[in-house]
Symmetry: C2
Amino acid sequence: MGKQKKYVYFFGGKKADGKADMKGLLGGKGANLAEMVNIGLPVPAGFTITTEVCTYYYANKKKYPKELKAQVLAALKKVEDHMGAKFGDPKNPLLLSVRSGARASMPGMMDTVLNLGLNDVTVQALIEKTNNPRFAYDSYRRFVQMYGDVVLGLKPVDKHDEDPFEVILDNKKRQHGFKLDTELTAEHFKELVEEFKTAIKEKTGSDFPDDPMEQLWGSVGAVFGSWMNERAIIYRKLNRIPEDWGTAVNVQAMVFGNMGEDSGTGVAFTRDPATGENVFYGEYLFNAQGEDVVAGTRTPLPISKLAEDEPQIYKQLDQYRKILDKHYKEMMDIEFTIQQGKLWMLQCRVGKRTGFAAIRMAVDMVKEKLITKEEAILRIEPNQLNQLLRPIFDVEEKRKAIEGGKLLAKGLNAGPGAASGKVALSAHDAEIMAASGDPVILVRIETSPEDIKGMDASEGILTARGGMTSHAALVARQMGKVCVAGCGTLQINYRERKITVEDKDGITINEGDYISIDGSTGEVIMGKLETKPSEVVQVLITKTLKEEESPIYQTYRSLMGWADKLRKLKVRTNADQPDQAANAIAFGAEGIGLCRTEHMFFGGDRIMSVRKMIVSDTLEERKAALDELLPLQREDFEGIFEAMNGFPVTIRTLDPPLHEFLPHSQKEVEELAAALNISVEKLKSKIESLHEFNPMLGFRGCRLGILYPEITEMQARAIFEAACNVSAKGIKVKPEIMIPLVGDVNEFKLQEDIVRKAASEVTKEKGVKLNYLVGTMIELPRAAVTADEIASRAEFFSFGTNDLTQTTFGLSRDDAGKFLPLYVQNEIIPNDPFEVLDRKGVGELVKMGTEKGRSARPNLKVGICGEHGGEPSSVEFCHSIEMDYVSCSPFRVAIARLAAARAVVKETNSKKKSVKKAKSKKSSKKK
Amino acid sequence: MGKQKKYVYFFGGKKADGKADMKGLLGGKGANLAEMVNIGLPVPAGFTITTEVCTYYYANKKKYPKELKAQVLAALKKVEDHMGAKFGDPKNPLLLSVRSGARASMPGMMDTVLNLGLNDVTVQALIEKTNNPRFAYDSYRRFVQMYGDVVLGLKPVDKHDEDPFEVILDNKKRQHGFKLDTELTAEHFKELVEEFKTAIKEKTGSDFPDDPMEQLWGSVGAVFGSWMNERAIIYRKLNRIPEDWGTAVNVQAMVFGNMGEDSGTGVAFTRDPATGENVFYGEYLFNAQGEDVVAGTRTPLPISKLAEDEPQIYKQLDQYRKILDKHYKEMMDIEFTIQQGKLWMLQCRVGKRTGFAAIRMAVDMVKEKLITKEEAILRIEPNQLNQLLRPIFDVEEKRKAIEGGKLLAKGLNAGPGAASGKVALSAHDAEIMAASGDPVILVRIETSPEDIKGMDASEGILTARGGMTSHAALVARQMGKVCVAGCGTLQINYRERKITVEDKDGITINEGDYISIDGSTGEVIMGKLETKPSEVVQVLITKTLKEEESPIYQTYRSLMGWADKLRKLKVRTNADQPDQAANAIAFGAEGIGLCRTEHMFFGGDRIMSVRKMIVSDTLEERKAALDELLPLQREDFEGIFEAMNGFPVTIRTLDPPLHEFLPHSQKEVEELAAALNISVEKLKSKIESLHEFNPMLGFRGCRLGILYPEITEMQARAIFEAACNVSAKGIKVKPEIMIPLVGDVNEFKLQEDIVRKAASEVTKEKGVKLNYLVGTMIELPRAAVTADEIASRAEFFSFGTNDLTQTTFGLSRDDAGKFLPLYVQNEIIPNDPFEVLDRKGVGELVKMGTEKGRSARPNLKVGICGEHGGEPSSVEFCHSIEMDYVSCSPFRVAIARLAAARAVVKETNSKKKSVKKAKSKKSSKKK
């Protein structure tokens, strides 16, 4: 005869049936209660009915397994023995709580019943025991109400409908002219118990059950039932929790923090969840129940106060927190209750924390030898590093401003960090205002490449249109600027130089007024809030803080050091200017993965030469204009090569459609026509002829260089001349010339030939030897599909996943705002594909391109330079398909480094797991 | 000792060393000369030096194989024997021609030398033999000139430079005051020979070679040398002729058609190359050489005249043409010469023909049992069928108009056929003018969906902008309208209602003037030219001609009957209206593969309801507008279901961006605002809010139906109500609802649910049972990549290769005009991918989509509904990947049917070939 299946796990005293790693069977709460018992912490005794019972319950028309009853009774007996009281006993009654407890936390979604075991008889025993009739009757009426609501189903389904018990309670207070529950006496509560029971009889036709065992089974059934309530179903769907996990039910002896002044209750963390510091952090209230701490009606005291008031209890609690911290090797979130001078631990779980704290604690725990470096790296979500890098508002100051009604609007958190400044409504104004020393927030309906200088001059950028990958957002992140994008309620009136807000009548922000934007939350706030650069930035970039003075920086350095040793992917940066490149190196970049030459076209008077080139009618005119640009581009490249000091630099030849360089307003057109000495009509007709229906799919990328080879020629010359000049100074240079928007190997060949010819001419002229590569961006589906052909010529691939996402999805990121948010919200697609690389579609093409490319050229260098290069899960994907490097904006370099390291650790762990599985299969076979 | 390698192939008398299928070794000319000898035709004796000698020559520093000389001398001996004359003999000299002859025809690209063997001695023998000193000296001076130009290299490389011999000739004429060569006497020619020789001595430093053998080897070397001249290299590149094929050299006895009135020369075809009729067709001249017939200085006589003048010769010649036609089973192009009463055949090759003739001859030859049906089908390029379907100008009338300077411009031949009509510069004007009974040519800078009704009312459409797949071209082809697109030299002034032409100063075409456009050639001609529908159209569509009265129709019917029996692909049509559908059925369509519901939105007052729907602020307003549209759409679908009479009908739900339905001019906006009873500002802001940067990648396709499910719901209802109503009449209905622009299976699911819900509601209401399918268009790379997921729900795929080409290439067809023509011209890509399916990129995705789709749903129905569905090589591709059907515009249905049949024949042939190869390998192994 086989052993009976175990459905009930006892915990209490010094030994529990379960343990922490049984979350699947016992739920998170049950497993941790058992674990606390096992490590010697005082936990009110109880037992857990397993999730298997829940599964059985739903698979068998809401019946329990036949063994359950006996197991529950046996466990209950043990609880009675441990607690020295008896369930339903008229003299010494044991009271119980019944709580849900699923594998994953589902806070507030399922039902709880407290104070089980009370009836007209046992309440008398409670009065005697506590000498507190008001407490006893209050507990009793709460129990009847909770039981009526939860077990007997009197709680209204629609939250706008009234709870019948609350109606009775309100009536009672009104009768007596009371405002607060605290004004009610023991007698009032006693009356309420009767009135509640009458209401139950009326609504359900049955009496309230006085039998404790009936109360117990009713409550257990209600908790299992709540697994399938609507709230829980929706929550699981949203959080992707499988339905068949089921919930466990925890039945536990009640302890009371509100039994008098020698009782109390509190919540605490084993370390500071905000800073990560290894100090005890929490708060408590005397003579109170758990809900009082959370409700905010009384202000709780900091845990340090407990050390003064109850040094003995505090010492005990602090000892427990140390045990827990060390045992779990994690910051734990704990709940405790003091009942008449005795400390009970009611719950523990891994605590939530800020990114800042996560990093600090992970690094500290490695140093404390609690966890390995690999474990530390797995514990930090790479994006949490942002909190170490971004300028920040003072939390309190911001909260006050918002409470004071200063919150203007909320947009997309497109460029993390905090910035305050004067509103400028044009890039030009931004430059002027910044020149006079004022901090500036550039506010535009949307930005265009012409605004680059103004954006650079500003502290932050705020736009009314555009998404997370709009021009403003992309450039801001690359520049490390704060950015709030797509703030649709802002109505920006360029003519009247003011901003109004759709849902805030009467509020007007004029150009020059101060506003503050939080790019980590998307908040736009009126007025000025103080900001400061993070310590890491102070050490690395502004050099205003010394390493040894900043423990935060030291933490960062330790973590990044471990990450760098682990990762296989190289991390490069997207940078167009020497200062960006220098910042990126400070953040650990190992080269430039994308240097966009067109951004250089907007500096100084260059734009005039660019425009001259564009409106040229003849090759000669065009060449003359290009000759003006050559020395300027060369100078830029020299700066970048020097800044990168031997790291590889991938330079992309001209990419955007030419019309992006031309002016649009009548006034600007007139000015340009005058400057170029051509008629306004001619210039207009040129601009008109460059108009495109779908610029994204138009005359851009290598198509420009194929129609106008002289442009590529000039750029190649500028690159190689700069490389030779810098090389002559004894600085190593590794240029990698990248041809954009290639769809066919023939396009690549034509451009490659021009580049190689320029290289051989320039190196001959300068008498310098250069190592360089010529490769391409893979950003069209056709390039991925024909990657083998392209790799027969291209020496490297860099996946331009921004454009590849646009073409693969047939989705313009400038136009997707109308429907993409709805798509993500309704889970038609799991993520915004411009933020997180779409593995199923775009990723499949990236994989195909990489494999086909390497089939033709085994040593093909492969990287990614889309925005995804700095997005952690996308970096993981890049690692999984064995790319050589990712490239991202300077302020995401550290994030990418960490993500790359995590990818390695995860891979190793999953390999270990499968080896283990294979071994255990083998050994079980041997048996 | 092995046999000596054979480099020289003799032909002459009754037996040749070679034969027709040795074109690779002997070149086309040599092989056919040998074949004519073998079938008993009189050919001047000669020999062919093989292409292997050419290959050897270039592989061995321009040396010949050592065996060559002896083989040439032996062959020459045989020629002398057969012709009864001796090369270089002072009394009875044999004269030779030396001509190139490659495997593929390269007309005029390589060199020829005639009259070899003449010198001061042999010319005397020629005089005696012909008694015609002028002929003899003229031949001699021509030889010296040709030899000097070709062999000695005096011909100027730059064609602007003067030929030194022509200079001397001109001087001679000027001296004597002559205008024509015919005025020169024997004595003058004799002088010229001397003067030419002097010039040669001056320029080259050497004497002109009198030795005939030296002349022969010099000429052979020159012909081999000309294989690598610049012209030939470029020609080969353009025509993809491999360089290593090499050329053969044909050395042949000269015969002269200019030896007097009993001599003559001519060219002819074994059947009529224009109509295909089985009659002798050609022309000839007495006392003339080949070049005289071609040069046009004398007007040649029709071959029928020969029957009167020389009945014996004609009879003989007619007999030869019959032998050739029957032997080659092809219409042959022949050259003949009569020398002093004796007929010689000089050349034969497969002749060029019109599409019309190609079809007629292929069908006739099957009936004559010369070829099989499969062979006939392979001989007709599907596009040649166009000539049987399109209205046509009278060729003579058009030629006269063009010679009279009436050619206005040339654009793209976007919609084949011919049309004359009055110019209308707006769709509205076109409708009005057409209503008054005038034929109309709609002339627009470009067309938009709003112009549909005006296009429908016009005979033809002419645009200044846009390519082969512009809106105008697409719609025109679908409507079967004549269209010339992208005629860039036209300057269309809407305000002044006139057209001027860039390179034709002073010419103005006013609205209302007649013009004629030839959509098969792209010509735009001033004035009116008569047109007529083709006989096939008269029988099938206009029903103005009976089958039995039209042999042309009967030919068409035979051919299509054979094609239909062979093909495996079904052929459907793209049709939006009942009349289009009916035409398509007449052309053999087996269903509708794409019915675009949005075109229905422009009819009558519907556009107002559509616009109401678009500007609606609330769901209720939108539903009210949709309610107005429902009965109208239902009516359309009823018409289509009735016309298709049981054939499947694929209906695509709303696809284009909404802004396409809104007006743009201030006046129209004001009118619409008034009609909708909203403010102009509001309407403008709505229009503005719908503006997109890249409409191709924007808010369109199923994205519309996902954001506004009520649109899909209305359309599904209209479809199913129509289906039920028509079904109730006893007509079979097979609706296939197609969801456009799906990129993820979740999008499909959402739309599918709406469609299936409507279906179940409507069929319940109507009490009718319906079979229907729900499927999707695969037009995004992501759909192809995730086709397995999509096919888990979709019951059919239709590849929308127009959009798939745009997204795969990242190429907007509206904007590609700037660079795509250059790409095709420079062979960066082999074809315009919007015309011919790009197999390497787009095709690979189509293949992947089909395979992945069928992996998830083995019986998935797969078709194509892009423009490529009517393009022959693309149809072949669709067959090769085992699609179920192609769908194309009504007027391309027949073309697709033929292309589908050809695909089968080609496949079978290539299988036979590989079986044969495998067998011969096997048998050679056995040895």
